[in-house]
Symmetry: C2
Subunit: 201 residues, 2 copies
């Protein structure tokens, strides 16, 4: 006999523990919570999972998440259509939107170049980016891939492909995060912060 | 416009963040994972939630989780039917079963006495326990409520109600957890460990 209780509970624990960062114990705690929760609450979660899988696709233009053919940003006529911010994943759009500082469009690559993991240029939406830029009207492409080895390589690769006289290709600044403690800064970040120091005029 | 992406995604994040211990950021990470995961995997989680809510109820005898009228432990004729281990929650049965040391039955109270939270004796399955014991054939009741204020109060209350010449009423030992470091033991646990010291004969 299983020591883990009824089969449907064991199955729910197994499914929950497949989620990233959810271990066996957390999965068990969540499963017991769902079992005790009102039906409406538990079913609302199940329905939300189904709905997100059925209704959310990728924007035809920028490959951000979208409920229809275009995402809400590409469909918004108040955005600055001359600027494209290139990110790795749809999740990376959210922190940019939260700044309320960026008014341009996005382009979601779907990952970063990583030959070791078998991710080459044709696995990412790079050709689609080049084609968007090639249609004209773009003044700046901000390369906002992650400040990691693969993100840097991807930014350099794209910068090389975009090179042209009419287009500014920029990269996000690397440096100390706001509120950080210098004592605990890693040496790579501190090196970047030093190299990118700005005059206080 | 929401900064959090399409409405179904925002709804999934909201539902996930209602789970205990899941904050906004974790909920967002899980939602993006489910969005990227194969349909089968995401739907399997939704189905497992629905199945657990629809199929799992409480055992008529011991109030542990059960798929039918009786839980698998009460239905198992190889268990020692003269011993009842009293626990607060169905989740508490699992660690006992994992020990493979306990062969008796259980009784799940559904909580612990806590007048401050409005939990009185009639909110717990205490009358049902007294009635089980009253039907005879029980030699020992192990009170395995949590070693907390409310768990102790519940154990003492039940012990008082069960008092009788034919019945052993026992409580789990309190003391240092196996593998613990004495230096970091809290004084209450250490006090209990000292009070409960055993002769090494």
């Amino acid at each position: 006999m299983s020591t883990e209780g009824p089969a449907p509970l064991a199955r729910l624990v197994a499914e929950l523990s497949r989620l990233p960062g959810i271990g066996q114990r957390t999965a068990q705690r969540l499963a017991f919570h769902l079992l005790r929760a009102p039906d409406e609450e538990a079913f609302a979660l199940g329905d939300a999972i189904r709905e997100v899988k059925e209704k959310v696709g990728l924007c035809e233009e920028c490959f951000n998440l979208a409920e229809g053919p275009l995402c809400r940003i590409c469909a918004d006529h108040n955005r600055d259509r001359a600027t494209i911010c290139v990110v790795e994943q749809p999740a990376d759009v959210i922190p940019f939107e939260r700044t309320h500082e960026y008014r341009g469009l996005y382009h979601v690559l779907g990952g970063a170049l990583s030959p070791i993991d078998g991710v080459d240029a044709e696995d990412l939406k790079i050709a689609e980016l080049l084609s968007r830029v090639g249609r004209g009207g773009i003044g700046e492409v901000v390369l906002a891939t992650n400040p990691t080895t693969t993100g840097e390589a991807t930014a350099l690769y794209i910068a090389e492909r975009l090179r042209g006289p009419q287009l500014a290709v920029t990269r996000l600044a690397s440096g100390l995060p706001v509120g950080a403690d210098l004592e605990h800064a890693d040496e790579v970040t501190l090196g970047k912060a030093l190299a990118g120091r700005r005059s206080l005029d």
